[in-house]
């Protein structure tokens, strides 16, 4: 009997996980995409700091570039309809994301391209190429923030 209850609870918990993954509340969606942006930010900070050092650590740059590339791929999917400011959840996402979806997806794709370039440069290990690819990612961040994120 006890075993059955445990099994039932486990099944319930599992189904709950599945349901929330399919239909996340706006609050969950916002929290997930913010965590993703923080992953991007952490990677940017780590790479930027290495590049300021007299002898940058390529290992740190490679790990961070990989993490950045991974997070960059999620940005375009992080803004389903109903997860904007109208949902009542605190977010800096502007309504423009849903008003001009083609522009927004273009900006998100630009980030993916620039992040991939950076990871390729990091893999190659040529610091000069990394130094060129890194600000290009920053430019992609800015390209989106200027139009789709609230100014503070």
């Amino acid at each position: 009997m006890k075993k059955h209850i445990v099994l039932a609870l486990a099944a319930l918990a599992a189904s709950g996980t599945v349901v929330s993954a399919i239909a996340a509340t706006p609050a969950e969606t916002v929290a997930a995409r913010q965590a993703n942006f923080k992953q991007l930010g952490r990677a940017m900070k780590a790479i930027g700091e290495e590049l300021k050092k007299p002898a940058p650590d390529l290992g740190v740059i490679r790990t961070s570039a990989q993490s950045l590339n991974q997070a960059a791929g999620h940005v375009g999917h992080g803004f389903p309809r109903g997860s904007g400011p109208e949902s009542g959840v605190k977010t800096e996402a502007l309504a423009a994301i849903w008003q001009r979806p083609a522009d927004f997806q273009g900006a998100a794709r630009n980030l993916v391209v620039k992040a991939r370039d950076l990871q390729t440069a990091a893999g190659g290990g040529d610091l000069n190429r990394i130094r060129t690819a890194f600000p290009a990612v920053g430019g992609a961040c800015k390209g989106c923030h200027d139009n789709f994120r609230e100014r503070h």
């Binding site: 930010g41 900070k45 920053g138 800015k142």
Partner: protein
Amino acid sequence: MGKVRLWDAPVRLFHWSVVALFGALWWSGENGRIDLHKTIGLVMLGLVVFRVLWGFLGGSTARFGSFVKGPGTVFAYLRASREGKAPTIVGHNPLGGWSVLVLLGLLALQVGLGLIAQDTDAVASGPLNHFVSYDTGDAAGEAHEVVFNILLLFVALHVAAVLFYLFVKRDNLVHPMLSGHKAFTQAVEQPTFAPAWRLILSVILAAAFAGWIALGAPFSLEQAKQAWQAPPPSAEESYM
């Protein structure tokens, strides 16, 4: 009796520079001109450091030791003022002294937060951001906004006090802060002023400190050279 030289030129120049820079920092911060904001912020850092040094090395009316009083003195002064028996003070009165300390302290706090703050993309960061974690830099950015609002509140209080003196107490405080001189109706003790070498020393120390911070506070010559030759990417372009 007559005109007294009240504020020295460094105090006046500091005061009006802060007014101008405060406005410029507000504008550049609100409009996402982050590179300009960082540059002006570093000038503000130099000014604040200078004023702290001048509070120990400057003339009698600039010194903290001459105008920072305990709460007992402040309340006694306020009580005497209400009865119209306040003594004539050459310089900051006991309450005004605290106004100077609070405004200067808030400015220092605000500059300090800006130095370690970062934007969410972590490229538009303060020059000392590399000393703190991502989360600390994030929190500093949030606090930078809160402290700005507190600063605005105290600036408003400061302006209100000056207007109260002008219209209610019929005492113009703005003119002496511009000209340096103030007319007193009775004989008062003349303030003493600091020699030029102390001014030169304070300016050099403050500028050197701000420059060192601008380079990310390097601890070796090699680090300093690196920072000097290869400015962080954020200095070339704004990402905010």
